[in-house]
Amino acid sequence: MRTILVSKWTKVAVFLICLIPFADLVWRIIKSDLGANPVEFLQHATGDWTLRFLVFTLCVTPFRKLFKLPDLIRFRRMLGLFAFFYVSLHFLTYLGPDQAFDFSGMLKDVAKRPFITVGFTAFVLLIPLAITSTAGWIRRIGGKRWQMLHRSIYFAAVFGVIHYDWLVKSDVRKPLFYGALVALLLLWRLGDWFFKRRSQAPVRVAAPHVSMNG
């Protein structure tokens, strides 16, 4: 398993797999196979894939620990950047067809419509994460602070789910599904943090001896 995970080719394969939804959309545009309301189709598809990639990204840490596969970390940045890629497309389908590229009109809409406000906030929260995703930026900011900054993905995911929930007319099954996944992944982190703290507390007190004895 480990040799597969660390293989360069696996990374290439995952990258290509992540591009499939995008390729499918391009293909559908070429074939004009986007249904009766193509703009809505693109908006919903890119929004869905954003939430999915946020969930995939949030899965990495729990999966690493639960399945003892630390090498999964090699894919986290890529998954996160794909979430950003799809959210950028999602934003463009709103800025273009809905707002006719009118920035001031868009900002008014953002201020006035709660579901746009939370969606836009989630998008904005992800921008610094995409920018600082390189090794250089981790060094410049410092590991601890970088980690703190990148925790804002939790808020982006929660806001993304709320954005979806406030958009739908009455059928909340899909937003609830994403909401449940995000909740589960965040609760796992909370539990992990809580138990780690508890198990570490006595260790910290006796730290010198324990570390001496290995």
Binding site: G35, N37, V39, R113, L167, D171
Partner: protein, 319 residues
Amino acid sequence: MLIRKAPDLTYADVTPRSVYLDRRKFLRAMGIAGATAVAGKGLFDLVLPPQNALAATQFTGLIKSPFSTTEKQNSLNDVSHYNNFYEFGSDKSDPAKNAQNFKTTPWTVSVEGDVSKSRKFTMDEILKLAPLEERIYRHRCVERWSIVVPWIGFSFNVLAKLVEPTPKARYVAFETLYDRRQMPHAGGGIDFPYVEGLRLDEGMNPLALLCVGMYGESLPPQDGAPVRMIVPWKYGYKSIKSLVKIRFQEKEPPTTWNRYSTSEYGFYSNVNPNVDHPRWSQSKERRLGEIFMRPTVMFNGYGDQVASMYSGMDLKKYH
């Protein structure tokens, strides 16, 4: 025109399921077509998937209506594959799939309440109540998309006058069929049966259409077969589908979406670019087939015919 763009063939397209399950009905639906023609049609279906499993009735000699718009019509394919009909699923692509075998014969519409002559109408009787007209209307959904459709029918007031509403009647309540066996996909968070209503004068307005077809044919199941209302100056959900009951009454009837969320969906639900849905603006709409949005017009552009019914009314309060 009918088949603008044939989707990819899937296994299910080879023979429509209803045809496979009920060849007799299929043959009957083919009407006078002989065995050779049926075979030919079968071959045709193999190449181009059918829009509906069962052939629709063609209407001829339709009267052109002065109410019709000259705007570009949407395609039958778009109008029959992008539907809000939660009895057949809440995704807009669901009804076209799930309503294929919807049984619309026999069909009766019961008219009751504060009328002198309450009675039931069969579909044959309804079709003979008045000469059928083609009315090309704009149709604006609360979700900010719109279409232009050549509906077929006649003013609802023809039927209403026939049953003679008593002076007590101030509203008309409508109800859609709810048959759990035929509608296993019904859902989406709203209650069934679907109910709607109009003030009596709204129902009597000549624009309010009792609709039995579109694009020269009977209605496809997903568009509300066999008979529905079309109220073009109101948001789409007011135009109730697959009608089984019409009730004249004194009290304002409950309506499905209003019951679901009173603040979001008022009883009147007139198309109004100045009154936003609490969660989104109603000032613009996307005509299917267009990329950018266009401004929404008060009463969906039917102000000349309907605005007088609301004079002096606070349309923000009575949205």
